[in-house]
Protein backbone atom coordinates (compact mmCIF):
# COMPACT_ATOMS: atom_id res chain seq x y z
CA UNK A 1 0.00 0.00 0.00
CA UNK A 2 2.31 2.72 -1.29
CA UNK A 3 1.49 6.45 -1.56
CA UNK A 4 1.03 5.90 -5.31
CA UNK A 5 -1.73 3.41 -4.59
CA UNK A 6 -3.54 5.92 -2.36
CA UNK A 7 -3.21 8.65 -5.00
CA UNK A 8 -4.59 6.41 -7.73
CA UNK A 9 -7.35 5.14 -5.45
CA UNK A 10 -8.30 8.72 -4.63
CA UNK A 11 -8.42 9.54 -8.37
CA UNK A 12 -10.62 6.54 -9.10
CA UNK A 13 -13.02 7.07 -6.22
CA UNK A 14 -13.09 10.83 -6.74
CA UNK A 15 -13.83 10.42 -10.44
CA UNK A 16 -16.59 7.91 -9.81
CA UNK A 17 -18.16 10.05 -7.07
CA UNK A 18 -18.00 13.19 -9.22
CA UNK A 19 -19.65 11.30 -12.07
CA UNK A 20 -22.65 10.67 -9.80
CA UNK A 21 -22.85 14.09 -8.16
CA UNK A 22 -22.38 16.55 -11.06
CA UNK A 23 -25.37 18.01 -12.91
CA UNK A 24 -24.03 18.40 -16.43
CA UNK A 25 -24.08 15.01 -18.17
CA UNK A 26 -20.96 15.65 -20.26
CA UNK A 27 -19.06 16.59 -17.11
CA UNK A 28 -20.26 13.31 -15.57
CA UNK A 29 -18.97 11.38 -18.59
CA UNK A 30 -15.56 13.06 -18.36
CA UNK A 31 -15.37 12.39 -14.62
CA UNK A 32 -16.19 8.76 -15.33
CA UNK A 33 -13.28 8.75 -17.79
CA UNK A 34 -11.00 9.88 -14.97
CA UNK A 35 -12.26 6.93 -12.93
CA UNK A 36 -11.50 4.60 -15.89
CA UNK A 37 -7.98 6.04 -16.08
CA UNK A 38 -7.52 5.47 -12.35
CA UNK A 39 -8.63 1.87 -12.75
CA UNK A 40 -6.11 1.39 -15.57
CA UNK A 41 -3.36 2.81 -13.35
CA UNK A 42 -4.38 0.39 -10.59
CA UNK A 43 -3.93 -2.50 -13.06
CA UNK A 44 -0.51 -1.12 -14.01
CA UNK A 45 0.38 -0.85 -10.32
CA UNK A 46 -0.30 -4.58 -10.06
CA UNK A 47 2.11 -5.26 -12.99
CA UNK A 48 -0.81 -6.24 -15.22
CA UNK A 49 0.38 -4.32 -18.28
CA UNK A 50 -1.91 -5.96 -20.79
CA UNK A 51 -5.04 -5.43 -18.70
CA UNK A 52 -4.05 -1.85 -17.93
CA UNK A 53 -3.42 -0.79 -21.52
CA UNK A 54 -6.45 -2.70 -22.78
CA UNK A 55 -8.48 -0.81 -20.17
CA UNK A 56 -7.23 2.53 -21.53
CA UNK A 57 -7.71 1.48 -25.17
CA UNK A 58 -11.23 0.14 -24.69
CA UNK A 59 -12.69 2.30 -21.94
CA UNK A 60 -11.08 5.69 -22.62
CA UNK A 61 -10.65 5.24 -26.37
CA UNK A 62 -14.01 3.68 -27.16
CA UNK A 63 -16.52 3.51 -24.29
CA UNK A 64 -16.03 7.09 -23.08
CA UNK A 65 -16.30 8.39 -26.66
CA UNK A 66 -19.45 6.33 -27.18
CA UNK A 67 -21.01 7.68 -23.96
CA UNK A 68 -20.20 11.25 -24.93
CA UNK A 69 -21.60 10.76 -28.45
CA UNK A 70 -24.79 9.25 -27.08
CA UNK A 71 -25.24 12.22 -24.74
CA UNK A 72 -24.70 14.73 -27.54
CA UNK A 73 -26.90 13.00 -30.10
CA UNK A 74 -29.82 12.59 -27.67
CA UNK A 75 -29.80 16.27 -26.63
CA UNK A 76 -29.03 15.34 -23.05
CA UNK A 77 -26.16 17.78 -22.83
CA UNK A 78 -28.22 20.67 -21.46
CA UNK A 79 -27.82 21.14 -17.74
CA UNK A 80 -31.06 20.34 -15.90
CA UNK A 81 -32.47 23.22 -13.84
CA UNK A 82 -33.81 21.42 -10.79
CA UNK A 83 -32.28 18.79 -8.56
CA UNK A 84 -30.81 15.75 -10.25
CA UNK A 85 -31.60 13.45 -7.34
CA UNK A 86 -34.60 11.21 -7.83
CA UNK A 87 -37.21 10.55 -5.13
CA UNK A 88 -35.86 7.05 -4.72
CA UNK A 89 -32.32 8.07 -3.91
CA UNK A 90 -32.50 6.65 -0.35
CA UNK A 91 -33.54 3.19 -1.49
CA UNK A 92 -30.92 3.33 -4.25
CA UNK A 93 -28.29 4.14 -1.68
CA UNK A 94 -29.40 1.19 0.48
CA UNK A 95 -29.28 -1.19 -2.50
CA UNK A 96 -25.82 0.06 -3.50
CA UNK A 97 -24.56 -0.33 0.07
CA UNK A 98 -25.94 -3.87 0.21
CA UNK A 99 -24.26 -4.85 -3.08
CA UNK A 100 -21.00 -3.31 -1.91
CA UNK A 101 -21.21 -5.17 1.39
CA UNK A 102 -21.75 -8.52 -0.35
CA UNK A 103 -18.86 -7.86 -2.76
CA UNK A 104 -16.57 -6.73 0.03
CA UNK A 105 -17.46 -9.77 2.11
CA UNK A 106 -16.79 -12.07 -0.85
CA UNK A 107 -13.41 -10.46 -1.56
CA UNK A 108 -12.34 -10.63 2.07
CA UNK A 109 -13.39 -14.29 2.34
CA UNK A 110 -11.66 -15.33 -0.88
CA UNK A 111 -8.24 -14.30 0.43
CA UNK A 112 -8.37 -17.16 2.94
CA UNK A 113 -9.81 -19.68 0.51
CA UNK A 114 -7.13 -19.37 -2.16
CA UNK A 115 -4.16 -21.72 -2.03
CA UNK A 116 -0.87 -20.02 -1.32
CA UNK A 117 0.38 -18.82 -4.67
CA UNK A 118 3.52 -16.88 -5.39
CA UNK A 119 3.34 -13.24 -4.35
CA UNK A 120 3.56 -11.71 -7.81
CA UNK A 121 2.02 -13.95 -10.50
CA UNK A 122 3.69 -13.18 -13.82
CA UNK A 123 1.40 -13.00 -16.83
CA UNK A 124 2.98 -11.60 -19.97
CA UNK A 125 1.19 -11.02 -23.24
CA UNK A 126 2.34 -14.34 -24.64
CA UNK A 127 0.75 -16.32 -21.77
CA UNK A 128 -2.49 -14.37 -22.08
CA UNK A 129 -2.58 -15.09 -25.81
CA UNK A 130 -1.96 -18.82 -25.31
CA UNK A 131 -4.65 -18.98 -22.61
CA UNK A 132 -7.19 -17.13 -24.76
CA UNK A 133 -6.56 -19.33 -27.80
CA UNK A 134 -6.26 -22.55 -25.79
CA UNK A 135 -8.13 -23.02 -22.56
CA UNK A 136 -10.59 -20.13 -22.89
CA UNK A 137 -11.23 -20.35 -26.64
CA UNK A 138 -14.90 -21.34 -26.23
CA UNK A 139 -15.88 -18.36 -24.02
CA UNK A 140 -13.94 -16.09 -26.37
CA UNK A 141 -15.80 -17.37 -29.43
CA UNK A 142 -19.16 -17.12 -27.65
CA UNK A 143 -18.37 -13.52 -26.76
CA UNK A 144 -17.39 -12.84 -30.36
CA UNK A 145 -20.71 -14.22 -31.62
CA UNK A 146 -22.58 -12.17 -29.04
CA UNK A 147 -20.79 -8.97 -30.05
CA UNK A 148 -21.38 -9.67 -33.75
CA UNK A 149 -25.07 -10.21 -33.06
CA UNK A 150 -25.19 -6.93 -31.11
CA UNK A 151 -23.50 -5.08 -33.99
CA UNK A 152 -25.91 -6.53 -36.55
CA UNK A 153 -28.80 -5.61 -34.26
CA UNK A 154 -27.57 -2.03 -34.01
CA UNK A 155 -27.27 -1.81 -37.80
CA UNK A 156 -30.83 -3.11 -38.24
CA UNK A 157 -32.18 -0.56 -35.76
CA UNK A 158 -30.39 2.20 -37.67
CA UNK A 159 -31.61 0.88 -41.06
CA UNK A 160 -35.30 1.12 -40.13
CA UNK A 161 -35.05 4.80 -39.42
CA UNK A 162 -33.52 5.45 -42.82
CA UNK A 163 -36.28 3.61 -44.70
CA UNK A 164 -38.92 5.65 -42.86
CA UNK A 165 -37.15 8.87 -43.75
CA UNK A 166 -37.47 8.07 -47.48
Amino acid sequence: MSPVFYLVAALTLGGALTAVVLKNTVHCALALTAAFAGLALLFLGLDAQFAGFAQILVYIGAVAILVVFAILLTRGSETPQGSVYSRYSISGLVAAAAVFAVLGWAVLQSAHMLPNEQAVPMADVHDIGVALMGRYVLPLEILAVLLTAATIGAVIVALHEKEDAK
Binding site: V26, L30, T33, F53, G61, A64, V125
Partner: protein, 395 residues
Protein backbone atom coordinates in the same frame (compact mmCIF):
# COMPACT_ATOMS: atom_id res chain seq x y z
CA UNK B 1 39.62 1.23 -35.37
CA UNK B 2 36.96 2.34 -37.83
CA UNK B 3 34.55 -0.21 -36.38
CA UNK B 4 34.85 1.08 -32.82
CA UNK B 5 34.52 4.67 -34.01
CA UNK B 6 31.32 3.81 -35.90
CA UNK B 7 29.98 1.88 -32.94
CA UNK B 8 30.71 4.73 -30.54
CA UNK B 9 29.10 7.22 -32.89
CA UNK B 10 26.07 4.93 -33.12
CA UNK B 11 25.74 4.94 -29.32
CA UNK B 12 26.80 8.57 -28.88
CA UNK B 13 23.61 9.63 -27.08
CA UNK B 14 23.75 6.69 -24.67
CA UNK B 15 27.44 7.37 -23.93
CA UNK B 16 26.75 11.08 -23.49
CA UNK B 17 23.93 10.36 -21.05
CA UNK B 18 26.05 7.91 -19.04
CA UNK B 19 28.93 10.41 -18.93
CA UNK B 20 26.68 13.24 -17.71
CA UNK B 21 25.02 11.03 -15.12
CA UNK B 22 28.38 9.78 -13.81
CA UNK B 23 28.95 13.17 -12.12
CA UNK B 24 26.08 12.47 -9.74
CA UNK B 25 26.15 10.24 -6.63
CA UNK B 26 25.39 6.59 -7.40
CA UNK B 27 21.96 6.63 -5.76
CA UNK B 28 20.60 9.32 -8.06
CA UNK B 29 21.97 7.91 -11.33
CA UNK B 30 19.00 5.80 -12.53
CA UNK B 31 16.50 8.59 -11.91
CA UNK B 32 18.79 11.22 -13.42
CA UNK B 33 19.27 9.04 -16.52
CA UNK B 34 15.51 8.77 -17.01
CA UNK B 35 14.96 12.49 -16.45
CA UNK B 36 17.69 13.30 -18.96
CA UNK B 37 16.17 10.98 -21.60
CA UNK B 38 12.68 12.42 -21.07
CA UNK B 39 14.02 15.97 -21.26
CA UNK B 40 15.79 15.14 -24.53
CA UNK B 41 12.58 13.78 -26.08
CA UNK B 42 10.51 16.72 -24.81
CA UNK B 43 13.05 19.19 -26.25
CA UNK B 44 13.91 17.36 -29.48
CA UNK B 45 10.50 16.88 -31.04
CA UNK B 46 9.20 20.45 -30.56
CA UNK B 47 12.49 21.55 -32.14
CA UNK B 48 11.81 19.22 -35.04
CA UNK B 49 8.28 20.68 -35.15
CA UNK B 50 9.70 24.19 -35.59
CA UNK B 51 11.90 22.94 -38.42
CA UNK B 52 9.00 21.11 -40.04
CA UNK B 53 6.73 24.18 -40.10
CA UNK B 54 9.25 26.13 -42.17
CA UNK B 55 9.92 23.03 -44.31
CA UNK B 56 6.18 22.63 -44.90
CA UNK B 57 5.55 26.29 -45.74
CA UNK B 58 8.51 26.36 -48.12
CA UNK B 59 7.53 23.04 -49.69
CA UNK B 60 3.89 24.01 -50.13
CA UNK B 61 5.04 27.30 -51.57
CA UNK B 62 7.13 25.51 -54.18
CA UNK B 63 4.24 23.16 -55.04
CA UNK B 64 1.93 26.16 -55.49
CA UNK B 65 4.46 28.17 -57.52
CA UNK B 66 5.26 30.69 -54.79
CA UNK B 67 8.42 31.33 -52.81
CA UNK B 68 7.10 30.88 -49.27
CA UNK B 69 8.30 32.75 -46.18
CA UNK B 70 11.62 34.51 -46.93
CA UNK B 71 11.75 37.61 -44.72
CA UNK B 72 12.90 36.44 -41.26
CA UNK B 73 16.56 35.42 -41.21
CA UNK B 74 18.49 33.84 -44.11
CA UNK B 75 16.00 32.26 -46.58
CA UNK B 76 13.28 32.83 -43.97
CA UNK B 77 14.72 30.11 -41.78
CA UNK B 78 14.03 32.02 -38.54
CA UNK B 79 10.29 32.21 -39.31
CA UNK B 80 9.41 29.56 -36.63
CA UNK B 81 11.10 31.74 -33.97
CA UNK B 82 8.96 34.70 -34.97
CA UNK B 83 5.86 32.49 -35.00
CA UNK B 84 6.70 31.13 -31.56
CA UNK B 85 7.15 34.60 -30.04
CA UNK B 86 3.92 35.73 -31.69
CA UNK B 87 1.87 32.87 -30.25
CA UNK B 88 3.43 33.30 -26.79
CA UNK B 89 2.62 37.00 -26.60
CA UNK B 90 -0.88 36.82 -28.05
CA UNK B 91 -3.82 37.29 -25.72
CA UNK B 92 -5.37 34.07 -24.47
CA UNK B 93 -9.10 34.46 -25.12
CA UNK B 94 -11.65 32.19 -23.47
CA UNK B 95 -15.22 32.66 -24.75
CA UNK B 96 -17.72 33.82 -22.11
CA UNK B 97 -20.03 30.85 -22.62
CA UNK B 98 -17.15 28.35 -22.75
CA UNK B 99 -16.69 25.69 -20.15
CA UNK B 100 -13.52 27.19 -18.68
CA UNK B 101 -12.04 24.15 -16.92
CA UNK B 102 -12.46 21.74 -19.83
CA UNK B 103 -11.47 24.44 -22.32
CA UNK B 104 -8.20 24.77 -20.37
CA UNK B 105 -7.61 21.03 -19.96
CA UNK B 106 -8.18 19.92 -23.58
CA UNK B 107 -4.88 21.10 -25.14
CA UNK B 108 -2.92 19.77 -22.16
CA UNK B 109 -4.50 16.31 -22.38
CA UNK B 110 -3.83 16.23 -26.12
CA UNK B 111 -0.14 17.16 -25.93
CA UNK B 112 0.57 14.90 -22.93
CA UNK B 113 -1.10 11.90 -24.58
CA UNK B 114 0.80 12.48 -27.82
CA UNK B 115 4.13 12.84 -25.99
CA UNK B 116 3.55 9.54 -24.17
CA UNK B 117 3.67 7.68 -27.49
CA UNK B 118 7.34 8.59 -27.98
CA UNK B 119 8.24 6.67 -24.81
CA UNK B 120 8.13 3.31 -26.57
CA UNK B 121 9.51 4.21 -30.03
CA UNK B 122 13.00 2.75 -30.61
CA UNK B 123 14.84 5.72 -32.15
CA UNK B 124 18.14 3.88 -32.58
CA UNK B 125 20.04 0.84 -31.38
CA UNK B 126 19.40 0.70 -27.58
CA UNK B 127 17.70 4.09 -27.84
CA UNK B 128 14.27 3.45 -26.40
CA UNK B 129 12.96 5.09 -23.26
CA UNK B 130 10.79 2.23 -21.98
CA UNK B 131 11.34 -1.19 -23.53
CA UNK B 132 8.14 -2.89 -22.47
CA UNK B 133 6.56 -6.15 -23.48
CA UNK B 134 3.36 -4.65 -24.89
CA UNK B 135 4.81 -1.44 -26.33
CA UNK B 136 2.49 -1.48 -29.35
CA UNK B 137 -0.58 -1.77 -27.14
CA UNK B 138 0.71 1.12 -25.01
CA UNK B 139 1.16 3.25 -28.13
CA UNK B 140 -2.39 2.63 -29.33
CA UNK B 141 -3.81 3.18 -25.84
CA UNK B 142 -2.18 6.62 -25.77
CA UNK B 143 -3.33 7.35 -29.33
CA UNK B 144 -6.90 6.53 -28.33
CA UNK B 145 -6.74 9.03 -25.48
CA UNK B 146 -6.20 11.94 -27.87
CA UNK B 147 -9.71 11.50 -29.29
CA UNK B 148 -11.22 12.50 -25.99
CA UNK B 149 -9.06 15.65 -25.89
CA UNK B 150 -10.35 16.64 -29.34
CA UNK B 151 -13.90 16.14 -28.15
CA UNK B 152 -13.26 18.15 -24.97
CA UNK B 153 -11.89 21.05 -27.03
CA UNK B 154 -14.82 21.07 -29.43
CA UNK B 155 -17.54 20.68 -26.85
CA UNK B 156 -16.23 23.11 -24.23
CA UNK B 157 -15.90 25.96 -26.75
CA UNK B 158 -19.70 26.31 -27.13
CA UNK B 159 -19.32 27.06 -30.81
CA UNK B 160 -21.15 25.16 -33.50
CA UNK B 161 -18.11 25.03 -35.78
CA UNK B 162 -16.00 23.68 -32.95
CA UNK B 163 -18.56 21.04 -32.09
CA UNK B 164 -19.03 20.03 -35.75
CA UNK B 165 -15.27 19.81 -36.16
CA UNK B 166 -14.93 17.69 -33.03
CA UNK B 167 -17.72 15.34 -34.12
CA UNK B 168 -16.12 14.93 -37.54
CA UNK B 169 -12.69 14.40 -35.98
CA UNK B 170 -13.87 11.79 -33.51
CA UNK B 171 -15.95 9.89 -36.10
CA UNK B 172 -12.99 9.89 -38.49
CA UNK B 173 -10.44 8.90 -35.87
CA UNK B 174 -12.56 6.01 -34.56
CA UNK B 175 -13.17 4.68 -38.08
CA UNK B 176 -9.53 4.80 -39.12
CA UNK B 177 -8.17 3.65 -35.77
CA UNK B 178 -9.63 0.21 -36.48
CA UNK B 179 -7.64 0.06 -39.71
CA UNK B 180 -4.50 1.36 -38.00
CA UNK B 181 -4.72 -1.39 -35.37
CA UNK B 182 -5.55 -4.19 -37.79
CA UNK B 183 -2.78 -3.31 -40.25
CA UNK B 184 -0.29 -3.39 -37.36
CA UNK B 185 -1.65 -6.75 -36.19
CA UNK B 186 -0.20 -8.31 -39.37
CA UNK B 187 3.29 -7.32 -38.21
CA UNK B 188 2.60 -8.70 -34.73
CA UNK B 189 1.45 -11.99 -36.26
CA UNK B 190 4.70 -12.46 -38.15
CA UNK B 191 7.04 -11.24 -35.41
CA UNK B 192 5.16 -12.97 -32.60
CA UNK B 193 5.65 -10.06 -30.22
CA UNK B 194 4.10 -6.72 -29.29
CA UNK B 195 7.51 -5.35 -28.34
CA UNK B 196 8.71 -2.71 -30.80
CA UNK B 197 12.38 -3.50 -30.16
CA UNK B 198 11.76 -7.13 -31.12
CA UNK B 199 9.87 -6.03 -34.24
CA UNK B 200 12.87 -3.93 -35.33
CA UNK B 201 15.32 -6.72 -34.43
CA UNK B 202 13.35 -9.14 -36.63
CA UNK B 203 13.76 -6.78 -39.61
CA UNK B 204 17.45 -6.01 -38.95
CA UNK B 205 18.70 -8.98 -41.00
CA UNK B 206 20.02 -9.10 -44.53
CA UNK B 207 19.85 -11.43 -47.51
CA UNK B 208 22.80 -10.42 -49.68
CA UNK B 209 22.73 -6.65 -49.39
CA UNK B 210 18.94 -6.38 -49.02
CA UNK B 211 17.23 -6.02 -45.62
CA UNK B 212 14.31 -8.10 -44.32
CA UNK B 213 11.99 -5.10 -44.02
CA UNK B 214 8.35 -6.06 -43.88
CA UNK B 215 7.44 -3.62 -46.65
CA UNK B 216 9.31 -5.90 -49.10
CA UNK B 217 6.77 -8.71 -48.62
CA UNK B 218 3.31 -8.81 -50.28
CA UNK B 219 1.38 -8.58 -47.01
CA UNK B 220 3.80 -5.96 -45.70
CA UNK B 221 3.35 -3.72 -48.72
CA UNK B 222 -0.45 -3.98 -48.53
CA UNK B 223 -0.34 -3.45 -44.77
CA UNK B 224 1.94 -0.44 -45.13
CA UNK B 225 -0.33 1.24 -47.69
CA UNK B 226 -3.36 0.69 -45.43
CA UNK B 227 -1.35 1.92 -42.43
CA UNK B 228 -0.31 5.05 -44.30
CA UNK B 229 -3.92 5.84 -45.29
CA UNK B 230 -5.12 5.32 -41.73
CA UNK B 231 -2.23 7.33 -40.29
CA UNK B 232 -3.03 10.27 -42.56
CA UNK B 233 -6.65 10.18 -41.46
CA UNK B 234 -5.72 9.72 -37.81
CA UNK B 235 -3.55 12.85 -37.81
CA UNK B 236 -6.25 14.85 -39.64
CA UNK B 237 -3.93 15.66 -42.50
CA UNK B 238 -5.01 16.49 -46.04
CA UNK B 239 -6.82 14.85 -47.89
CA UNK B 240 -8.54 13.79 -44.66
CA UNK B 241 -8.50 17.24 -43.05
CA UNK B 242 -12.29 17.59 -42.81
CA UNK B 243 -12.27 18.22 -39.04
CA UNK B 244 -10.42 21.48 -39.58
CA UNK B 245 -11.43 22.28 -43.15
CA UNK B 246 -10.92 26.05 -43.29
CA UNK B 247 -13.45 26.61 -46.04
CA UNK B 248 -16.20 24.85 -44.09
CA UNK B 249 -15.55 25.04 -40.36
CA UNK B 250 -13.22 28.04 -39.77
CA UNK B 251 -10.65 25.87 -37.95
CA UNK B 252 -12.70 23.00 -36.57
CA UNK B 253 -12.33 22.02 -32.96
CA UNK B 254 -9.70 24.65 -32.16
CA UNK B 255 -11.64 27.62 -33.57
CA UNK B 256 -12.04 29.18 -30.11
CA UNK B 257 -8.41 28.82 -29.06
CA UNK B 258 -5.85 31.60 -29.30
CA UNK B 259 -2.31 32.32 -28.23
CA UNK B 260 -0.34 29.55 -26.64
CA UNK B 261 -3.25 27.12 -26.35
CA UNK B 262 -3.66 27.27 -30.13
CA UNK B 263 0.09 26.70 -30.46
CA UNK B 264 -0.30 23.61 -28.26
CA UNK B 265 -2.93 22.17 -30.63
CA UNK B 266 -0.66 22.91 -33.55
CA UNK B 267 2.23 21.25 -31.72
CA UNK B 268 0.07 18.26 -30.81
CA UNK B 269 -0.93 17.75 -34.44
CA UNK B 270 2.68 17.76 -35.66
CA UNK B 271 3.89 15.59 -32.78
CA UNK B 272 1.20 13.08 -33.66
CA UNK B 273 2.52 13.14 -37.23
CA UNK B 274 6.07 12.48 -36.03
CA UNK B 275 5.09 9.68 -33.71
CA UNK B 276 2.80 7.94 -36.18
CA UNK B 277 5.50 8.18 -38.89
CA UNK B 278 8.00 6.80 -36.38
CA UNK B 279 5.71 3.89 -35.59
CA UNK B 280 5.11 3.26 -39.30
CA UNK B 281 8.83 3.11 -40.03
CA UNK B 282 9.34 0.88 -36.98
CA UNK B 283 6.63 -1.55 -38.08
CA UNK B 284 7.22 -1.73 -41.82
CA UNK B 285 10.40 0.12 -42.79
CA UNK B 286 12.83 -1.59 -40.43
CA UNK B 287 12.95 1.15 -37.78
CA UNK B 288 16.58 2.14 -37.25
CA UNK B 289 18.09 -0.55 -39.50
CA UNK B 290 20.06 0.45 -42.59
CA UNK B 291 18.54 0.04 -46.09
CA UNK B 292 21.60 -1.88 -47.39
CA UNK B 293 23.96 -4.13 -45.46
CA UNK B 294 27.06 -2.12 -46.53
CA UNK B 295 25.54 1.04 -44.97
CA UNK B 296 25.40 -0.41 -41.47
CA UNK B 297 28.28 1.78 -40.31
CA UNK B 298 26.02 4.85 -40.50
CA UNK B 299 24.57 5.48 -37.00
CA UNK B 300 21.18 3.87 -36.45
CA UNK B 301 19.50 7.06 -35.23
CA UNK B 302 20.32 8.77 -38.54
CA UNK B 303 18.33 6.08 -40.34
CA UNK B 304 15.37 6.40 -37.97
CA UNK B 305 15.15 10.17 -38.32
CA UNK B 306 15.73 10.02 -42.11
CA UNK B 307 12.78 7.66 -42.47
CA UNK B 308 10.71 9.90 -40.20
CA UNK B 309 11.49 13.05 -42.19
CA UNK B 310 10.86 11.21 -45.46
CA UNK B 311 7.36 10.32 -44.22
CA UNK B 312 6.82 13.96 -43.20
CA UNK B 313 7.85 15.00 -46.71
CA UNK B 314 5.26 12.61 -48.17
CA UNK B 315 2.63 14.09 -45.83
CA UNK B 316 3.45 17.60 -47.12
CA UNK B 317 3.54 16.41 -50.72
CA UNK B 318 0.08 14.86 -50.39
CA UNK B 319 -1.24 18.04 -48.78
CA UNK B 320 -0.06 20.04 -51.75
CA UNK B 321 -1.47 17.56 -54.29
CA UNK B 322 -4.79 16.07 -53.25
CA UNK B 323 -8.17 17.79 -52.77
CA UNK B 324 -10.15 17.24 -49.58
CA UNK B 325 -12.59 14.33 -49.37
CA UNK B 326 -16.30 14.74 -48.63
CA UNK B 327 -17.63 13.27 -45.38
CA UNK B 328 -19.57 10.41 -47.05
CA UNK B 329 -16.59 9.57 -49.28
CA UNK B 330 -14.40 9.45 -46.19
CA UNK B 331 -16.67 7.06 -44.35
CA UNK B 332 -17.40 4.85 -47.37
CA UNK B 333 -13.69 4.62 -48.11
CA UNK B 334 -12.93 3.56 -44.54
CA UNK B 335 -15.65 0.98 -44.02
CA UNK B 336 -16.20 -0.37 -47.53
CA UNK B 337 -12.69 -0.50 -48.91
CA UNK B 338 -9.87 -0.01 -46.41
CA UNK B 339 -11.28 -2.10 -43.58
CA UNK B 340 -12.28 -5.19 -45.64
CA UNK B 341 -8.97 -5.08 -47.48
CA UNK B 342 -7.05 -4.90 -44.20
CA UNK B 343 -8.95 -7.87 -42.80
CA UNK B 344 -8.24 -9.81 -46.00
CA UNK B 345 -4.60 -8.85 -45.62
CA UNK B 346 -4.65 -10.39 -42.13
CA UNK B 347 -5.77 -13.71 -43.65
CA UNK B 348 -3.05 -13.50 -46.29
CA UNK B 349 -0.53 -12.82 -43.53
CA UNK B 350 -1.67 -15.96 -41.70
CA UNK B 351 -1.27 -17.92 -44.94
CA UNK B 352 2.24 -16.47 -45.39
CA UNK B 353 3.09 -17.46 -41.82
CA UNK B 354 2.05 -21.10 -42.30
CA UNK B 355 3.21 -21.72 -45.88
CA UNK B 356 6.86 -21.85 -44.82
CA UNK B 357 9.90 -20.63 -46.72
CA UNK B 358 10.12 -20.76 -50.50
CA UNK B 359 9.02 -18.90 -53.60
CA UNK B 360 5.50 -20.40 -53.64
CA UNK B 361 4.21 -18.19 -50.82
CA UNK B 362 5.41 -15.08 -52.64
CA UNK B 363 3.38 -16.02 -55.74
CA UNK B 364 0.26 -17.14 -53.86
CA UNK B 365 0.12 -14.18 -51.46
CA UNK B 366 0.83 -11.57 -54.15
CA UNK B 367 -1.79 -13.08 -56.46
CA UNK B 368 -4.40 -13.21 -53.68
CA UNK B 369 -3.84 -9.57 -52.68
CA UNK B 370 -3.81 -8.32 -56.28
CA UNK B 371 -7.01 -10.26 -57.07
CA UNK B 372 -8.74 -8.96 -53.94
CA UNK B 373 -7.74 -5.39 -54.78
CA UNK B 374 -8.95 -5.75 -58.36
CA UNK B 375 -12.29 -7.30 -57.44
CA UNK B 376 -13.02 -4.82 -54.65
CA UNK B 377 -12.14 -1.83 -56.81
CA UNK B 378 -14.28 -3.19 -59.69
CA UNK B 379 -17.28 -3.88 -57.45
CA UNK B 380 -17.19 -0.53 -55.70
CA UNK B 381 -16.81 1.30 -59.01
CA UNK B 382 -19.84 -0.54 -60.42
CA UNK B 383 -21.88 0.70 -57.48
CA UNK B 384 -20.97 4.30 -58.27
CA UNK B 385 -23.57 6.14 -60.33
CA UNK B 386 -22.16 9.18 -62.02
CA UNK B 387 -25.21 11.39 -62.27
CA UNK B 388 -26.24 14.73 -60.76
CA UNK B 389 -26.25 14.38 -56.99
CA UNK B 390 -29.09 15.49 -54.78
CA UNK B 391 -28.35 16.43 -51.20
CA UNK B 392 -30.88 15.54 -48.53
CA UNK B 393 -30.34 18.59 -46.37
CA UNK B 394 -29.31 21.16 -48.95
CA UNK B 395 -32.53 21.52 -50.92
Amino acid sequence: MFDTLARNFDQIFILLRDWLVSFLPAGMRPVAGIVLSVATIVALFPGLFALTTIFERKGLGRIQNRIGPNRVGPFGLLQPVADGIKSLTKEDIVPVSANAAIHFLAPLVLVVAVFMGFAVLPMGRNMVLVDMDCALLFYFAMGASTELAVFMAGWSSRNKYSLLGAMRAVAQMISYEVVLLLSSVAVVMITGSLSLTKIVAAQDQYTGIFPHWYIFTPWGLAGFVMYAIAATAETNRSPFDLPEGESELVAGYHTEYSGFKFALFFLGEYLAMFSISGLGSTLFLGGWSAPFSFLQWVPSWIWFFSKLMLSIFVFIWMRGTLPRLRQDQLMNFAWKFVLPFTIFNLMVTALWRFMGEGWLRWVVCSALLAAAYGIMARVSMRREHFEPRSYRYAE
